[in-house]
């Protein structure tokens, strides 16, 4: 049976995955080494921002039509807060159980055997549990460059309320 990767290794491969997608999408990125407010990476595009908490697993829990992840309530509450100035998301990255298969070298490329799913937590309700809450990550919400565009659409809506008295 393959050895469990360290949490550091899982965190770094998640960041690498998000970095690659953000680069392709033309988004800049702030990396937060110390996660004090429930956010690991912030994507940026012309003033707009999108916050993501990254989780990585070698053994995802599958549920009907997707995955489920138990997120601690403290992080959940920070990411769902309706007063945030940028939307908060959870991204679940899935890597093979065998760390030797995470990266494959080919003649003209390297292949990262990592794929992810995302869920928007912004504005969600109070959690029922006291320590963790199960977040559903639907299988159609794959973490892709296009998905990042959708996240920015939500961020744009937050800065576009009607009837503002800007002066």
């Amino acid at each position: 049976m393959a050895a469990e990767a360290t949490s550091w290794q899982k965190e770094q491969v998640s960041r690498a995955y998000v970095h690659a997608l953000a680069t392709q999408g033309g988004y800049t990125l702030c990396d937060w080494n110390v996660d004090k407010d429930g956010v690991d990476v912030t994507l940026r595009s012309r003033g707009l921002m999108v916050d993501i908490q990254l989780k990585c697993t070698q053994s995802p829990r599958t549920v009907r039509s997707g995955y489920s992840f138990d997120l601690d309530i403290e992080t959940y509450d920070k990411l769902r807060d309706p007063e945030r100035s940028a939307p908060g998301h959870l991204a679940l990255l899935i890597v093979p159980p065998d760390i030797g298969r995470w990266v494959t070298h080919q003649s003209d490329s390297i292949v990262l055997a990592c794929h992810g799913y995302w869920a928007s937590l912004h504005g969600m309700g109070h959690a029922a549990g006291s320590s963790t809450t199960a977040i559903h990550l639907p299988e159609h919400q794959e973490l892709t460059v296009k998905a990042m565009g959708t996240m920015f659409d939500a961020a744009r809506r937050m800065t576009n309320s009607a009837g503002l008295g800007l002066n």
């Binding site: 702030c30 003033g47 921002m49 309706p82 007063e83 100035s85 800065t159 309320s161």
Partner: protein
């Protein structure tokens, strides 16, 4: 500061962006986007909810963006935003021996005490113009309790005094029919700083002149806010062994125009202090004179076509309570009163005030015009 959350909120950020050329492009309840016109096409996000869990981080990102755009240190931008509503008066003691950033205890003590003395003397002169106060008005002593002391800075020894300022556009509207006590309290802070700046400027001019100031020049300086106590606040510092000069610089809030005619910086070395000492002696011993100063808005105007003077009511704060002071103004001053009323410009009036309890407050006017501490025209 920034790591523990910023020392300011969205109001300060928006005001700072406005005065540095940024303009809002879109906004909601939780965030706004501001852009800076120009080839770089910069856009920044302003978080609007200080209680949100991401407010500190969002502000940190904003500070980094602004520091990059302005080619400044993050701390410099932070300080500029944190003090955007404040006038900061830097009191600096200098001497070759202070270059290591430390100061002898005695000199440091005098510098701190002088900061308060300068403030109280200036506040007293903002209420009454008098050569020697003996007893300060209560409002003047109270005011010194409201101003703040900033972090001292290394190098020479600098004590920053932080006081409130208010944007001209946030003051009064045209044809204002009453004063706002809260606005007046903030304006008083700015008026005190303006009085201090003007008084120290006049004192520096007298100290730097080639001849000794005349009795009449000293008398006139009282009208600009110079007093025995103000002079003493300066001489006490410079007369300590390890201070060779004191300079005072005024960093006016970026949202409120600097008061016209006030110096940005004044300096008093040992030679100048000798003259300040002599001015101070004359102020202490000269004939006791007193002139009240009131600030407020013109709320009542009445004049018959055939009259030489017009009757004007100025609503003001007397002992922190709103009162209307009545006065008769000659043609020129009356027209100024009409103009100030129509434009919503606060006025400053000097003269002899009688305000019997329960009776009508009246002033025999010696000087009437737009309040010069707010950047108003003269």
């Amino acid at each position: 500061m920034v790591d523990n959350g910023p020392d300011f909120g969205p109001g300060e950020i928006r005001s700072y962006l406005k005065v540095t050329g940024w303009a809002p492009v879109s906004g909601g309840d939780v965030a706004e986007l501001w852009s800076l016109p120009g080839p770089a096409d910069e856009v920044v996000l302003v978080p609007m909810k200080p209680g949100a869990p991401d407010f500190a981080k969002r502000t940190r990102i904003l500070l980094q963006d602004l520091a990059r755009v302005e080619s400044e240190e993050v701390q410099t931008v932070h300080d500029a935003i944190a003090t955007v509503y404040h006038d900061v008066t830097d009191l600096r003691a200098s001497h070759p021996s202070l270059s290591d950033g430390s100061i002898p205890l005695e000199s440091g003590y005098e510098l701190f005490v002088s900061a308060k003395r300068l403030r109280v003397a200036s506040a007293a002169a903002t209420i009454r113009r008098q050569g020697h106060f003996r007893n300060f008005p209560t409002r003047a002593r109270d005011q010194a309790r409201e101003v703040r002391l900033g972090q001292t800075r290394r190098g020479s020894y600098i004590v920053p005094i932080i006081s409130q300022a208010r944007s001209q556009e946030d003051v009064y509207s045209p044809r204002q029919d009453h004063i706002d006590v809260q606005v007046e309290e903030t304006l008083f802070d700015r008026r005190v700083t303006a009085t201090m700046s003007r008084a120290l400027g006049v004192l520096e001019d007298m100290a730097g002149a080639e001849r000794e100031p005349t009795r009449s020049e000293i008398n006139d300086s009282i009208g600009e806010g110079v007093s025995y106590e103000l002079c003493q606040a300066l001489t006490r510092v410079v007369n300590t062994e390890s201070v060779s000069a004191i300079d005072v610089s005024f960093n006016w809030s970026r949202v409120a125009a600097p008061p016209p005619g006030t110096p940005a910086r004044v300096e008093f070395n040992g030679d100048a202090i000798n003259i300040v000492d002599r001015v101070s002696e004359q102020l202490k011993t000269k004939v006791y004179t007193s002139e009240h100063v009131i600030y407020g808005v013109v709320t009542d105007l009445s004049r018959h076509p055939e009259d030489d003077t017009g009757r004007v009511g100025v609503q003001t704060l007397i002992q922190r309570r709103s009162r209307t002071v009545w006065m008769n103004l000659a043609d020129g001053d009356y027209h100024t009163a009409v103009r100030c009323h129509d434009a919503g410009i606060p006025v400053r009036v000097r003269g002899t005030l009688t305000s019997p309890p329960g009776g009508q407050a009246r002033m025999n006017v010696a000087g009437f015009g737009p309040d010069p501490s707010l950047g108003a025209d003269d």
